[in-house]
């Protein structure tokens, strides 16, 4: 036994605000429990147990987030404000709003993951070699890779910390915690497994590459400020002028790591391949929730930590936003695969959200948060619908196969059309409200050129969204084309939730806009 006699006096016990951190802790706790379920429960019961466990955990965490928001308002403060865990985690308006969003998106994602009637989206046993006898055997036995649930929970946990991290090291840990399970999940597709595994590997390699940039940025900023705490960096930025190079290069590299996660040009290259290859429920979850978390982190780093150096990073973000909007919209024009098209569309949307971010005012913050919420629900529902359109070999994602779908399944095609209109930003959908909020925030901050580019890109983008609608409703159906499978209740529920939110935020956005306004508050 080794005794460190002096240690008790040197290191005081950290003060942990368990209550404020409980949403995160609940989700991680459920993830650990889910691993135990995998270990100890018989295979037959796992699925239902996992489902119940995850949904309960997410809803419980969401309830705590709501309570936290509520309590803050009861204390006569518009927003909660507390730096928890010795200053490492900031519990403020933005954190709670984005955590709530991520948890709700998580619930919808779990519902999607639970789809069983369509033969499952996930490999029966991911460990088997594609095309091997073992694969056939496990498939025949009807195995299910229920490890996806704990993986998902860990990823969500990481996402909850990511926008809340008030400390660059914690943020990096959160980045890895949210990313690693995602890399795995991407490789678990049941059909076209090689494509799926390729996507996972690409995502992993590029993710690691971007993490390196991120980490290097942290190191440089530490060298500049002598601390990884955002508030200390902020103080250093506004306090001194010396050793600028460290600050500038550090913030640029930090931006690279974060822009990679949101899929902004030129760090977008992984998006189409991964979106296409990953199992569709995972794509849906990634497209929706990862964006929320990553933008949250971007907002926190650049508003709180580097707000004083705004004039240094501002032009760079302008450029990235413009290029991202234009590139995403343009390249989506020539896509022939629905999933790839939505991937490029998500790149374009990252650009639109960046327009809100570079407004750098409270209005921009609330518009960005609203956009993330609106886009998250629309996109998760859109990918869910894609998973329903199937032919004999699984999902039929080639655009030509979607011709005339509206005549065969008017309801599903109608919902997809509605979501596409939301992506295009047509009024009475959430997409319009969100774009309007972002653009008006940008206008008040002098971002007219950005808005011009944004509107032009929207025009280009409207073409390919509406082309799909035309294809679905005005083209003759292809013979032996895909049909819309009848999903299990959970998937149907997920689709309906997404569509309902899309319509609600388009018709009656004010309550949620008010919520975002109240939450547009950051503490340092």
């Amino acid at each position: 036994m080794i005794r460190l006699a002096a240690s008790e006096t040197l290191i005081p016990a950290p003060n942990i605000e368990y209550y404020e951190l409980s949403p995160i802790l609940i989700v991680f706790g459920v993830g650990v429990l889910a691993v135990l379920v995998e270990a100890f429960l018989p295979r037959a019961h796992r699925l239902h147990a996992q489902l119940a466990l995850c949904l309960t955990g997410l809803v419980a965490a969401f309830v705590v987030v709501c309570t936290l928001t509520d309590e803050a308002q009861e204390n006569a403060r518009a927003v909660p404000q507390k730096v928890a865990a010795e200053g490492a985690v900031a519990i403020d308006g933005m954190t709670l709003f984005l955590q709530g969003t991520i948890l709700l998106l998580g619930v919808v994602a779990v519902l999607l993951l639970a789809e069983r009637r369509l033969g499952g989206e996930f490999a029966a046993s991911a460990a088997t070699v594609p095309g091997s006898a073992a694969e056939k055997e496990t498939t025949r036995l009807g195995w299910v890779q229920t490890e996806i649930y704990p993986l998902l929970m860990f990823s969500i946990g990481g996402m909850l910390i990511f926008p809340a991290a008030n400390d660059l090291l914690l943020m990096f840990v959160a980045l890895e915690v949210l990313s690693l399970p995602l890399y795995l999940l991407c490789g678990l597709a049941r059909r076209r497994r090689l494509l799926s595994q390729e996507a996972a590997l690409k995502y992993f390699l590029l993710g690691a590459f971007s993490s390196a940039f991120f980490l290097y940025g942290i190191a440089l900023l530490y060298g500049y400020a002598g601390s990884v705490r955002l508030s200390d960096i902020n103080a250093a930025v506004s306090g001194s002028e010396d050793n600028d190079a460290l600050l500038l290069i550090g913030m640029a590299l930090l931006a690279v790591g974060l822009l990679f996660k949101v899929g902004a040009v030129p760090f977008h290259a992984w998006t189409p391949d991964v979106y296409q290859g990953a199992p569709t429920p995972v794509t849906a979850f990634m497209a929706a929730a990862t964006k929320v978390a990553a933008f949250g982190a971007l907002l926190r780093v650049f508003y709180v930590g580097l707000g004083g150096a705004k004039w240094d990073w501002h032009p760079m973000f302008w450029g990235v936003a413009m290029v991202t909007m234009l590139f995403g919209s343009l390249v989506a024009l020539v896509q022939t695969d629905v999933k790839r098209m939505l991937a490029y569309s998500s790149i374009a949307h990252a650009g639109f959200i960046l327009v809100g971010l570079v407004a750098t005012n409270a209005e921009g913050l609330s518009a960005t948060m609203f956009y993330l919420l609106a886009y998250g629900f629309s996109t998760i529902a859109a990918f869910a619908i894609i998973s329903l359109v199937r032919d004999g070999s699984g999902e039929a994602t080639h655009l030509s196969q979607w011709a005339g779908l509206g005549r065969r399944s008017p309801v599903v095609a109608g919902m997809f059309a509605l979501l596409l209109l939301a992506f295009a930003g047509i009024p009475l959908t959430s997409g319009f409200t969100a774009k309007f909020a972002v653009f008006s925030a940008s206008a008040s901050a002098g971002g007219t050129p950005l808005i011009v580019v944004g509107v032009l890109s929207s025009t280009v983008a409207a073409f390919f969204y509406i082309r799909v609608i035309v294809l679905m409703f005005f083209s003759a159906p292809v013979t032996d084309g895909p049909r819309v499978a009848v999903p299990s209740l959970t998937t149907a529920l997920a689709v309906w939730i997404g569509v309902a939110v899309t319509v609600f935020l388009g018709v009656l956005p004010q309550p949620v806009l008010d919520l975002a306004d109240n939450a547009s508050f950051l503490i340092s």
Binding site: F209, F260, F267, A332, L333
Partner: protein, 644 residues
């Protein structure tokens, strides 16, 4: 509501009369409009179930409106001159930014005249139509359209703002279109309806633009607010508004240069011609000008243009009338000409407004009577309208003859019939204002006497030129009764002028000014009567004392021109229609060659760019990583460059 920002210069504006809140019977103003509208809805939506009693309902709703109007009129009579305007505010219609507009009705001395004319003559014509349309399978629909018309026309004259007036304006346009084309299975009739609609539309644009100007200048479209604010506007704007309003009036009232539709509009059933294209709708332009008196009073230019348009039209209409063999077209040309008189009077300013309305009212009676008589003649002549196959009908249809005759005496201006009083006043006012305008009016009176005598003689005198198998007979009582009532109006209408009654009555709304006389009144009256006698004599010589050909004779150049409406259609076709078609073709060409190519080219450019960009997405992680690395380098560079 907006308060005018500039004070009116002292003395520049007429004293606008006070408008009180509607009380008592004036609260029923809305019902006047709602009753016929309700009738129209029931008849048009009710389908075949209403076939048996639809025409009765149609008559009753108009009678109801007339009774309300009559009670209102009597109530007004019992009040002081400055308490005869009432406004009923129904509800707020538009409340958007600077534009706040309520739906409200204004009953005053001017609008009540119109209400009485519309509902009374309208009711008589409804009665007449019961019999006239008895054999038409779609009589119910006809009554539905008629009721719709009455409702829209009442809305037009009762509106308290230009915008609401415009609603009625469009409503009567629609009803007119539907009724001209009532027998739309005849392609010519359908074309006539379309022509009327399109030409009216040209005028409507004028009215719309006038409203835009008003809103821009005064921030309101309500009559009282606009009139209050007009003196503060610059002369240019006032003139522009006046001219645009005139364009609207010209379209609706078939004045030069938009008169061509009226003759074709005779395609509609005769009661329609009597009600819409003689007595009421076509006079809406005159109403618009008189109602806008506070605007015209401030612009001499606009007034002069109004007077000139009126003078031109009254001569053109009269000339066209001399050559028409179709009895309805001859009467239509006469309508055009008579409205020209009214517009001329309205263009004379306060000296003429009251006489414009006076002539409008008397004309409403005698022209409706003439048209209905013509309808009665056609009824007896197997729907033939060619006067060259009439002749000597006075014995066969004595009542019609008598009524037509009284209307004839009224229109050519023989004392003591109504037309004498009203037309004489206009000629007098025109002479006082400008000798050229006066001469036009005087010559017009002579030509009127000529062509109306021609119609009279060719129809009821001269010798029989009937087709074989035609047995003229008098019309049934339900048709002759309205004729008799209207003829009574033609005889007694002049009574409105006793003690300057109508002038004093309208003065609070339109003002009045005593003109200085250029020549003694008795001399002018004598001169007018002399011209009229010359006209009648010429007609007697040409048509009574020489035989009338059964087919149209060749005729000289002038006759030819008049027969072809002075080539107005040809002019319109050459100046407007052909260039319009060329412009359309050019635009189509431009669209195909220019815009489509531009759009397609842009799309191709975008597609090409996208295709090239897409190649960057090679699928190799190494190239992705390289892209990222390059991007990172650029990012760092961008941040550093900013600092420089």
């Amino acid at each position: 509501m907006m308060i005018p920002t500039s004070e009116a210069p002292a003395g520049a504006a007429e004293q606008l009369q006070n408008i009180g809140e509607a009380t008592g019977v004036f609260n029923l103003t809305w019902l006047m409009i709602a009753l016929p509208l309700f009738g129209a809805l029931v008849l048009l939506c009710g389908g075949k179930r209403t076939d048996s009693w639809g025409h009765i309902l149609g008559c009753l709703t108009v009678l109801g409106s007339f009774l309300i109007g009559a009670i209102q009129f009597l109530t007004l009579l019992g009040k002081d001159a400055d308490e005869r305007a009432y406004n009923q505010h129904l509800y707020d219609w538009l409340d958007s930014g600077n534009l706040q507009l309520g739906v409200g009705f204004q009953v005053d001395q001017l609008s009540i005249c119109f209400v009485l004319l519309i509902t009374f003559v309208g009711f008589l014509i409804h009665l007449y139509s019961v019999e006239y349309m008895a054999h038409d399978l779609r009589r119910r629909r006809f009554f539905g359209y008629l009721n719709l018309f009455i409702s829209a026309m009442l809305l037009l004259v009762l509106a308290d703002s230009y915008l609401l007036l415009f609603v009625g304006w469009e409503g009567v346009g629609l009803a007119s279109y539907l009724l001209i084309g009532f027998w739309q299975h005849v392609p010519d009739y359908a074309t006539a309806a379309k022509k009327a609609f399109v030409m009216n539309r040209v005028g409507d644009i004028g009215l719309l633009v006038a409203m835009f100007f008003m809103f821009d200048q005064f921030g309101s479209l309500a009559f009282d607010e606009v009139f209050e604010a007009v003196p503060g506007a610059s002369d240019g704007w006032v003139t522009a508004i006046g001219l645009m309003l005139l364009l609207g009036a010209v379209g609706k009232s078939a004045q030069f240069p938009l008169q061509a539709w009226l003759l074709d509009a005779m395609a509609g059933p005769t009661p329609v011609s009597a009600l819409i294209h003689a007595a009421t709708m076509v006079t809406a332009g005159v109403y618009l000008i008189v109602r806008s008196a506070p605007i015209y009073n401030l612009s001499d230019t606009a007034q002069l243009v109004v007077a000139i348009v009126g003078a031109i039209t009254l001569v053109i209409g009269a000339l066209i009338g001399t050559a028409k063999d179709d009895i309805k077209k001859a009467l239509a040309a006469s309508t055009m000409s008579q409205i020209g008189y009214m517009v001329l009077a309205a263009g004379l300013g306060p000296a003429g407004y009251a006489f414009a309305i006076f002539h409008l009212l008397t004309h409403g009676f005698f022209k409706a009577g003439l048209f209905l008589s013509a309808g009665s003649v056609m009824h007896g002549m197997h729907d033939d309208t060619d006067m060259r196959r009439y002749g000597a009908l006075r014995a066969a249809m004595p009542i019609t003859y008598a009524c037509f005759g009284l209307g004839f005496l009224a229109i050519i201006g023989i004392p003591p019939f109504a037309g004498f009083w009203s037309k004489d006043k206009i000629i007098e006012a025109a002479f006082n204002d400008n000798i050229a305008l006066g001469l036009c009016a005087l010559i017009g009176a002579g030509i009127t006497a000529f062509y109306m005598s021609r119609v009279m003689i060719m129809t009821f005198f001269s010798d029989k030129r009937w087709d074989s198998g035609v047995h003229p007979h008098e019309s049934p009582k339900l048709m002759t009764l309205p004729l008799i009532v209207l003829a009574g109006g033609a005889v007694l209408g002049g009574g409105l002028l006793i003690n300057d009654g109508i002038v004093t009555w309208l003065e609070p709304v339109v003002g009045h000014e005593e003109a200085h006389h250029r020549m003694p009144v008795w001399a002018l009256t004598a001169l007018t009567l002399f011209v009229i006698v010359v006209g009648v004599a010429a007609a007697l010589k040409m048509y009574q004392f020489s035989p009338v050909a059964r087919t149209q004779p060749q005729g000289g150049v002038l006759v030819h021109a008049a027969r072809h409406d002075l080539y107005q259609d040809t002019v319109n076709e050459a100046v407007l229609m052909r260039p319009g078609q060329w412009a359309t073709r050019f635009l189509v060409w431009l669209d195909h060659r220019g815009l489509d190519n531009l759009v397609n080219g842009l799309a191709a450019l975008l597609g090409g760019t996208a295709g090239r960009l897409r190649r960057v997405q090679a699928g190799f992680v190494r190239s992705y990583a390289l892209t990222m690395f390059g991007g990172a380098a650029l990012t760092v560079l961008a941040v550093l460059v900013v600092r420089l």
